[in-house]
């Protein structure tokens, strides 16, 4: 379960660059909910995920994961509950470390790190099998540096790392936006598979309306730091891009022209 209560965040307060990024966002997710999030640039989608992950403190409001109030916790202390994949493929992995070392680091998320081996022999086989499921041939490159992988391979690996210790909440922040269309589709399909397999509570930001409609059981649209649309159940299943566009215009009360290109 995830509960966001009246989250507010203003960047650069009291300057000419002041930006109200989150304007009282409340949201409740049940276990197994897979929410897709859309909205124009600067609508607050990524900001919301960062607020949940604790990248910086919020001005007010609460983040409650599974009954634990994590609002006051720093980023690394919230990590045990969260799996995260970022837009930039470089951000989710350590380039100068081996594939297997990256996975082992993720495996120890939420555990105390001591003087035990960084990677055990038993883990090696586990990771080889796991990587084989990706079908990218990474299982034969266990000891290669992650820096040698392509963007798509790195995102697939980051996805595995994020879901290795079944997180309470998976945060996907436009994780296919930097990939070419074919690779993006592959990574997206893989994400959907993993989410379904483990029944993971997920929030996925995307700029692609079709993807937002196709995946997940709930769709949220944000605008100017607020959730302006929340569609679930049967209504979500029967949604079309055109209907979504119309809804957006109605809900936000402004012309879509400027955002049309971004949302198509």
């Amino acid at each position: 379960m995830l509960d966001l209560i009246e989250l507010r965040k203003t960047f650069n307060p009291n300057t000419i660059n002041q930006k109200i990024a989150l304007d009282g966002v409340s949201l409740h997710l049940d276990d197994g909910d897979f929410v897709t999030m859309i909205g124009g640039n600067g609508a607050g989608k990524s900001t919301l995920l960062n607020a949940i992950a604790g990248v910086w403190p919020v001005d007010s409001g609460k983040v409650i994961i599974d009954g634990n109030d994590v609002t006051g916790l720093s980023e690394h202390k919230r990590a045990p509950w969260l799996g995260r994949v970022f837009q930039d493929p470089m951000m989710g992995t350590a380039a100068s470390m081996q594939i297997i070392e990256n996975l082992a680091l993720a495996k120890r998320r939420g555990q105390k790190r001591g003087l035990k081996p960084g990677v055990t022999k038993a883990e090696k086989d586990e990771y080889r099998d796991l990587l084989a499921t990706l079908g990218l041939g990474l299982e034969d490159r266990l000891t290669q540096k992650v820096g040698l992988l392509s963007g798509g391979q790195r995102q697939a690996l980051t996805l595995l790392m994020a879901t290795l210790n079944k997180p309470k909440l998976l945060l996907l922040d436009e994780h296919t936006a930097a990939l070419d269309p074919r690779t993006a589709q592959k990574v997206l399909t893989l994400s959907d598979q993993i989410i379904k397999e483990h029944n993971l509570m997920t929030m996925m930001v995307t700029h692609n309306m079709k993807d937002a409609i196709r995946y997940g059981n709930r769709l949220i649209m944000m605008n100017e730091g607020k959730i302006i649309l929340d569609i679930k159940g049967e209504e979500k299943k029967n949604l079309t891009v055109q209907a979504l566009m119309d809804q957006f215009v109605k809900a936000s009360g402004e012309e879509l022209a400027s955002d049309r290109a971004l949302l198509s």
Binding site: F86, A94, G114
Partner: protein, 302 residues
């Protein structure tokens, strides 16, 4: 110019290179593994010697003196780490502040004298320049090879552990490290403490080797450490991929540095010009990857 005088100076250069190689391994850990340029080491490179010599002068056991030197270095690293993480001071500036304060601290340790000597006859020490041409176990080259090997062994073990991996992840990608639940501030503090502990060990050994500690002993130390790291990257970068071999490469880099310095001195360079030469050589080698990057970028656009 007499080639014989150069050859007779080489064992000394090698021994000094091995001692500074230990220091350079400390620099490597912050500069390459943690991705922090830590200037604390200029101060720590005198602190270790000061603690060790003063303890020996007061009749302390050799090994206890070395241990305390290492601990003193680790405290210096802790201070820089706290300046950086708890007080938000940029890493370079944090190191400079500690380095400056260490000048006073080092003088205080040395009883407010700029240097303190050890009496060879009455004090047992580990490495001494007087034995540099002796064939036997007391030869500092032999002893330093063992010290370096043990140090590399310990570091290789440590950086293969969970904490060590967390340190490497912090240096490689802080963002990823935090997302994986690593306390990156703690990782940086631990890294700085280990690095400065090692530098202080080198300092203690160097003071013994020279038979004295001088408050200015570590001045420009970071440049020598960086030179060793860069020399090893240039010469061994393509062949040494294993972490232990990389550390060995750094040690060899320091030895090469000291041999080159010896040759330059033999060619007649004024000793006082050495620091200028070292700084310029390091500057050029630091620039090479940048220049290479610009060239390849230009080629792509053309």
């Amino acid at each position: 110019m007499n080639i014989g005088s150069l050859i007779s100076a080489l064992p000394g250069a090698i021994a000094q290179g091995l001692i500074w190689g230990v220091m350079a391994i400390g620099v490597y850990l912050t500069y390459k593994v943690l991705d922090i340029a830590d200037l604390t080491v200029d101060g720590t490179m005198a602190t270790g010697g000061a603690v060790c010599v003063m303890m020996l002068l007061n009749g302390a056991n050799l090994w206890l003196a070395l241990l305390c030197a290492v601990l003193a270095g680790m405290i210096a690293g802790l201070v820089t780490g706290l300046f950086h993480t708890a007080m938000g001071i940029p890493a370079i500036l944090a190191g400079i502040l500690t380095q400056l304060s260490l000048y006073s601290v080092n003088l205080a340790i040395m009883g407010f004298k700029a240097n303190q000597g050890i009496n060879f006859r009455t004090t047992r020490i580990l490495v001494s320049s007087r034995n540099v041409k002796v064939i036997g176990f007391e030869n500092p080259i032999f002893i330093m090879i063992i010290v370096t090997a043990v140090l590399i062994g310990i570091l290789y073990w440590f950086f293969g552990r969970e904490i060590g991996s967390a340190l490497r992840a912090t240096g490689s990608n802080e963002h990823m490290a935090r997302a994986q639940g690593i306390n990156v501030n703690m990782a940086k503090i631990i890294g700085l403490m280990i690095s400065n502990g090692i530098v202080a060990l080198a300092s203690a050994l160097y003071a013994q080797y020279q038979g004295a500690v001088d408050v200015n002993m570590g001045r420009g130390g970071i440049v020598i450490g960086l030179a060793a790291v860069i020399i090893s990257t240039v010469i061994f970068g393509k062949i040494f991929h294993n972490f232990a071999l990389k550390l060995m490469g750094v040690s060899l880099g320091a030895v090469i540095y000291y041999i080159v310095i010896q040759i330059v001195l033999w060619l007649g360079l004024n000793t006082n010009m050495l620091k200028l030469l070292s700084a310029l050589v390091v500057a050029v080698f630091l620039a090479i990857p940048y220049w290479k990057g610009r060239l390849t970028k230009g080629a792509k656009h053309a």
